[in-house]
Every structure is written in structure tokens, then in C-alpha cells.
């Protein structure tokens, strides 16, 4: 489960970053609307500001959760490098056994089948 949650955690942080970008765009839009020569449209400004505040709240909630869950992860508690080397040795053994089996098969194929 752990790699999955990590993956979605990364996705969630990615979402947060996209949200920040969106928030900036909203701010820019509102500013430009205020600067429009014919006066700002009220509902436009209102809706944008509402969306802005909502996004900020969401960002804050997500970040708080991520920070809390990030603190639970203690790195390098169990280092698996030894097991990794043992694994590499087993891999070499398997390769060797495979070559032996190939040899056996070839030897067996050399003899015609006795049907």
C-alpha cells in the first residue's frame, strides 16, 4: 500500500501546485478586470474572488494533511541493501541454472526421440 499512497501523495502535491498556478491566474484576471476602462463587472470579480478563496482553502487543507503524513515517514529505518546483494547473487545462480538447463535440452534434442 505504501508505494501507492506515495504515488497519490505525489499526485496530490502536483494538484496543489497546479492550483497555485490557477490562483495566480485568477488574481491576474481580477486585476485586469479592475483596470478595465469601462469599469469592472461586479459578478465577474465576485465569482473570481470566491473561487480564489476556495482554492486557497483547499490548498491549505491539502498541504496540512501532506505535512502531517510526511512526518510519519522515517527514512532509512530498514536498509535493504544487504538483501539486494543477496538477490543479485540469486539472480546469478538462476542465470547459471538456466544455461545448464539449456545445455541439457540441447543434449536431449540431439538424440532422436524413441517412439
Amino acid at each position: 500500500m505504501d508505494p501507492q499512497t506515495q504515488n497519490t501523495s505525489l499526485q496530490r502535491l502536483q494538484n496543489v501546485e497546479n492550483r497555485v498556478v490557477k490562483v495566480l491566474e485568477l488574481a491576474g484576471g481580477v486585476m485586469e478586470e479592475l483596470a478595465s476602462p469601462s469599469g469592472p463587472k461586479k459578478e465577474f470579480v465576485n465569482s473570481h474572488c470566491r473561487e480564489f478563496m476556495q482554492s486557497m482553502k483547499d490548498i491549505q487543507v491539502t498541504l496540512r494533511e501532506e505535512i502531517k503524513s510526511a512526518c510519519e515517514y522515517r527514512p532509512f529505518e530498514k536498509c535493504d541493501y544487504n538483501a539486494r546483494i543477496a538477490n543479485e547473487i540469486c539472480f546469478q545462480k538462476l542465470e547459471y541454472v538456466l544455461t545448464q538447463l539449456d545445455d541439457l535440452k540441447q543434449t536431449a534434442d540431439q538424440y532422436p526421440s524413441s517412439d
Binding site: L10, G29, N82
Partner: protein, 554 residues
Amino acid sequence: MDSDMEISLDRLPIKRLESIEENGAERFPSDVDYDDKRVSLIRRIDFAWALEEEDELKKKKQKKSSKDSVEQWKWKGMVENLQLAHQELTVIIDLIDTVQANDAVTVAGMTRPKPMPNEILSDLAVSTATKLQGYRNLGNYFKQSAKALEQKINREARFYGALIRLQRNWKVKRQRMLASNASNEGFTIDLSDSSLYDPTSGFRPSTLSTIRVDHDSAGMLAINVPQDSWYSLRFGYVGLNPIGNSNESDEHIDSTTGHDIPGTSEKQSASDDKYVKETHSLLREVHKSIFAEQLFDMLNREAFNEGVGFNISGLRENFMEMSIGQGASLFVSLHPSGKNPSIKKSESATLLIESSGRVEPAEGGDYRLKKLGFPNRTSYEIYLQQIFHEHAFGKAKDQLKSKSIRASNQTEKDSNSGLLDHFCLSLTHRIFSNRVLVHLESVVCKVPYLHLISHPTWNSRTSSWTVFMTVPPSIIPQGRSETQSPDGKRNLKTQFRTKVVVKDDCISVEAECTPNVVGLLKSSSCNLFSINKYECDVADLPVMILQQVCSFVS
């Protein structure tokens, strides 16, 4: 002198000298009284303009004639008006200063003229326009930052995605550097295992154990490890196999190539996957190389302890040669892998032949190996790695467990673990037992009554076989080996077994005897021979087996 002295005092003028001319004449300021001065200043205030306006209404005709010269410079009138205003202000300020200095009068305040409506509006318009301009600039700034941030996020998403995937398998550490390189956030991958370190043995971590994580040109994660810097372990028989064994780690690219394809996102993610896999393989190779270096280091230490099973015959940097019994000579070396891909390609034909061992042209080398009874070098390479890994790992485990119990009682007994000795003895034993097997096979070959079975012993220095002899019932003499079973059938003993056990290079033979010798029907071991020398075995082993066979029959 009694007359009174008279002193007359002249009144000297108490005046400040205003100036002295060149000819010495002194000039004093004019003695103007304060009030006169005040009045004269007031007089300076020129109210001529008020009079002029009244005159203007009378003198319109005169003004008309001078209009053509008015349009020289449109601002000239404004400049003249400003200058006149400046003059009037100077006059009034002089008056105020004089009054202030002499009468101890402070100016209470100066009221601004009340702004007229059009002035108010124009001020408001100017400030509003400035604010709107400010808003527009701010809006532009926000939008630009949003775009730049989005690009940066996308770039970094690839980097951090790859880094997280690597982090699932490797230790990633971060060190906040002093921001001298802005592009490097100080990530490193740590391939060393601190639990295996024995500080008393003075083992220094390899230079490869910390690998820096860089960015490549497209902002993606890149790992730069120079091609020749990592090693692989080689083990072999001296003179019997050509240098260059198959190695699957040749073609690793050490940095990303051409990742700035502005293609679709699926294509990029697929190539990202491939890239992360390549990086992972590269890290695996480096990790294996660190282990190989540790192993070679341990071998070197062991080499200095006198062992029964081996003699060091050569020692170079990254190369160790030793001679063991049975006429075999081994070498163990650290070979830099990833060297010169071009040379590798030309050798690939020989590489394949070497590894597979079954292609006809290269049979010469293998045939010699088989003839000499040398076991396959790959299997012993693996065995060497395994025993050292288990030893190192077991030692680390013990250290962890016993750290609290005995802190300082650990002596240097760990340095002589005898593993190299054990390994060489195992190899010697294997060679010897291969020869024994050849002899046994030659005895048993083509004889239908004899069967040879080999038993696996889970000990690398012991081998055992059994020779079964099946005697046809017709030659067993009657009444010798009969037993009455409850149902009246005759149980004939028709199978006799001889067990051959080789430990290191000692052969011992156990065999069943016929009941004649001992008088029992059950099998019992009655012959136990110890043969220490191989030469005796050549002649004696077949003879022993034949002797047994005859004793069964007779």
C-alpha cells in the same frame, strides 16, 4: 599731580561693517530703522497687475496689434507668469521673515487656496488613472508569473517523479548546499550500507558510494557515473579461459540522451519510464561493484593469513592469483566494466562462445576443463560471493545483537574467518571428487549388474556415491542367504551396496558383506579402508570394488 585727570569718551559707532572697499573706505549699512524697513518691504509688493487688468479693458485696441507675435512658444506665457509669481512670493516671504525676526512673531499658518471644482476633478482623474495603470501592471505580473510557474512545475514534476521512483529502491539523501549552484538541490544517492562497516577493520567506504543527482539539459534527473569507474568481480582458472567474460552490464548510458523531444505526453512518460529503468540498472551495477570491492578487500586480508588450502602466487592491484591443490591455479580480479564499447563488440563473438560453452569452435578450452575435472568457473564465482556475503551479513547481525551485551570483548577473531581457505579446499575437493567419479564410472560402465548412484551431500567438501550390485538369484548358493518369512517365501538378498565417501581428499569405502563373514543377515559394515593418497586410489578403488563384488558372490 593733584589736578584731576579728565577722561573723555567718544562714542564709538556700534555698527557692523558691511563692506570695505579697496581704498580702505569703510562702508556701513544704512541706518534704517526697523519700521522704515518694514514699510519699504511692503512697498515692494507690487500690485501693478491689479492695475494692469483695469487698464486692459481700456486698452484693447493696443493689445490686438501685438497678437501675431504671441504665438512664438506656447509655454512662454506660462513661464513668464510663473516667474512673476515667483517674484511676488519672494517679496512677501522677505517681509514675513523680517517681521518674524524682529517682532518675535511666528507664522500661524498659511491656508491653501480652496481648490476649485475642476481642479478637484482633474486631481481625482489623475490619481484614478495611475491606480488603473497600477492594476493593469499587477494583472500582467500575475499572469506572467502564473505561466512561468506552470512551466517550472512541469519541468520539476518529471524530476521529482523520477526521484520518487528511485527513492523506493535506493537511499536518497539531501544536503542543502550554500546555494552556490542554483541548479543543484543537493540530492545524493547513498549506496553504502553502514551496518556492514566495521570501524576496527579500517574499511573505508568506496568513492562510488555517494552519487550525485544532477539535472540534464531538459531538467530531467541525470546521473553521471564515468564509464570505467565501477568494477565487476572475475574468477577463473589461470591460463584456461580467455579474458573477457560475458557481462550483461555493457551498454549503460550514464546520462540521458535526447530527452528534449517536444512530443506528446504519453511518449514522454514512456521514455521517462525507460529512463528511470536505465538509471535503476546503472545504480544496481554500481552497488554490485561496491560489493565486489568489499569482497576483494576481504580476500586480500584473508590472503595474509596462512591457510592450508592455498598458496598465493601473485598479487597485483585488483588481481590475486593463488595455487590450490590438484594442480589448479586460480585468479580473482576486479575488472573495470563498461570499458570501450567498441572493443566489447568485437569481442562479443568470443564472449558468447565463452559463456555458452557448447559451440564447436571453442570446444578446445572446455574440453580441457572437463578433462582436468575442473568445475565450471561461474558456479564457483557465485559460491565465493555467497559465502562472503553470508559471512559479512551474519557478522553484521551478530554485531547488532551483541552490541549491548559485550561491548569491548570482541577480539580480532573475526579477521581470520578462514573463508578463503574453505573456498579453496572446496574447490580442491570438487576437482578430486570429479576424478574419483571418473574412475567409478569406468568401473561401472557397461556392466549391467552394477549401478552407480551419487548422493547429494549438502556439504561442499564431501561427496558420496553408492555402487549397487544386483546379483542374479541363480548364482547365489542355496541356503546361504535365506530367511524363512512367515508366509514361507524365500527372501533372497540380491542387492549389495558399496558406499564411497570422499571427504576433502580422503576416500573411505563401506560395503556390505555376505553373511558368511559375520553370520548375520542384516547388512553391516565390515570393511573400512582409509586411503589418504590419491595414487593409491587410482589402482585401488576399482580393485576394491571388484573385491567387494567377488565377496558378495563367493
